[in-house]
């Protein structure tokens, strides 16, 4: 933790989250109404819409979409830097000559990565919900998910909170994967590249497989966007539980593989 405080990387990651928020806010303020008109163009021939759909619920939902791509990248970079950095400059050998066991050391790294992933998503949630509702006001959420769903404000807020909570587990999984990969590399840069490449590869493999085969659903990348299951008109609880289980299992597997490997790793 002390080391994290001293490194600028953590602050850069937090800054990146706030910038993502701000970019979405500006885009929503400038283009939000056009975006909504595009969605509802056909419907406006038949209906009058009364009320504000460009509101905090919609903007928070748009920010949630950054969980798909942007936040995993930040988590990968931070996790690899936290875990991989010490092998590079020899400080790892120094640490392990002291009292810490290899198992305890690597578990402490996983704990740190977990905490950092949590903080990143918490910050994203707090800033997006707080600022979105502060700037754009409260209102029903319009979501295009199988059908055009209009979710009342109170319900929408609970679903958004649920989605961010889900996002925490998803980002922890990404962080633990990156941390595990980092254990195999001395250079954090190599670990970052391999982690990102792995995610891209798994995503392509997952998309290439027909969902009916079921293999895609075993890949954790398939479930990173599982938070979307909060936004059909009826929350898709069974899919959510399935995604949570797959992610939890992957977290455990990453930790077990990391500990097993690190105990046997030749550090000399």
């Amino acid at each position: 933790m002390f080391k994290l405080k001293r490194r600028p990387l953590g602050y850069l990651a937090l800054g990146a989250i706030i910038i993502i928020d701000l970019v979405v806010f500006v885009a929503a303020a400038l283009e939000g109404q056009l975006f909504l008109d595009f969605f509802t163009e056909n419907l406006q021939e038949t209906f009058f819409f009364q009320g504000n759909l460009l509101n905090g619920s919609l903007v928070s939902y748009l920010i949630l979409n950054s969980l798909w791509f942007h936040i995993p990248l930040i988590v990968v970079v931070v996790a690899c830097a936290l875990v991989g950095g010490e092998g590079n400059d020899g400080s790892l050998q120094t640490i392990l000559t002291r009292k810490a066991s290899r198992g305890a050391y690597v578990l402490s790294k996983y704990l740190l990565v977990t905490l950092v992933s949590l903080v990143l998503v918490l910050l994203l949630a707090a800033t997006s919900l707080g600022l979105s509702y502060g700037f754009f006001g409260r209102g029903d959420l319009l979501v295009l998910m199988e059908t055009l769903n209009i979710i009342p404000f109170e319900d929408a807020l609970m679903r958004l909170i649920g989605a961010f909570a889900f996002g925490m587990l998803a980002m922890i999984t990404v962080g633990l994967m990156a941390a595990t990969i980092s254990l195999f590399f001395d250079s954090p840069v190599n670990a970052i590249l391999v982690s990102i490449f792995s995610m891209i590869l798994l995503t392509i493999i997952g998309k290439g497989m027909p969902a009916s085969v079921g293999w895609a659903k075993l890949l954790f990348v398939y479930h990173l966007s599982g938070w979307q299951n909060f936004f059909p008109f009826e929350v898709a609880w069974s899919e959510l539980v399935e995604s949570l289980l797959v992610l939890l299992i992957h977290c455990m597997v990453f930790i077990l593989v990391g500990v097993w490997y690190f105990r046997r790793k030749d550090l000399v």
């Binding site: 595009f38 969605f39 056909n42 419907l43 021939e45 038949t46 209906f47 009058f48 819409f49 009364q50 009320g51 504000n52 759909l53 798909w68 209102g139 029903d140 295009l144 998910m145 199988e146 059908t147 055009l148 769903n149 209009i150 009342p152 969902a211 398939y222 966007s225 599982g226 979307q228 299951n229 936004f231 008109f233």
Partner: protein
């Protein structure tokens, strides 16, 4: 003969409609369209013809553009021709069936068929063919016989195919694109349930 009968029925209906100069009421709005899902919404409504109905709600609400002409202003505004078609049963009530054809091009309505309760002179059903907004059907239920103000109103309308912008759909969302493309115009319904009428005479 058919025209005289039609005029007589229409005269009684217009007299009933004309009793009310305006009204306000609470309304529950329930949308029944297969590609839009929203819970029942509640609003306060005020209607003072010839102005359009106004809705006031803290919720986001969706209101149909057609079918809220409670005084049939658009239908009777211009000179029209009428025809008594016969009798039918609607919701177990015996009704007069009258067709009305506005004679001026300015009228938004091309043809209207009204199903009028023989006992109460209330319009239980209207089928309205418009010049530019297709056809829509209005079914009304009443819990009083004094005014032509419904307790429930079901507006059935045709909608153009809704083009879902697929690239904005969720990543894991399964959509039958072929089925969507093959589907033509859809029928939607809006159910309005009225309560707490305050009638201005």
């Amino acid at each position: 003969m058919a025209t005289d009968m039609a005029d007589e029925v229409i005269e009684r209906v217009r007299e009933k409609i004309g009793k009310v100069k305006g009204f306000s009421a609470n309304v529950a709005l329930e949308l029944d369209v297969d590609f839009i899902r929203m819970p029942t919404k509640y609003a306060a409504m005020a209607y003072h013809p010839p102005k359009e109905a106004k809705f006031d709600s803290e919720d986001f609400i969706v209101v149909p553009k057609r079918g809220l002409d409670f005084t049939y202003e658009d239908l009777f505004k211009y000179e029209y021709s009428s025809l008594y078609v016969g009798e039918e049963m609607v919701n177990d009530q015996k009704v007069h069936v009258v067709k009305i054809i506005p004679l001026e091009n300015k009228s938004k309505v091309v043809l209207a068929t009204l199903f009028i309760d023989q006992k109460t002179d209330q319009i239980l059903r209207s089928e309205i063919n418009t010049r530019s907004h297709g056809t829509y059907l209005i079914d009304m239920k009443f819990d009083q016989v004094k005014y032509n103000l419904p307790s429930e109103m079901v507006i059935t309308f045709e909608m153009e195919k809704f083009n879902l912008p697929l690239k904005y759909l969720g990543k894991n969302v399964d959509v039958d694109k072929k089925k969507m493309k093959s589907e033509g115009p859809k029928t939607g319904r809006m159910i309005l349930s009225f309560s707490d009428y305050k009638v201005e005479l």
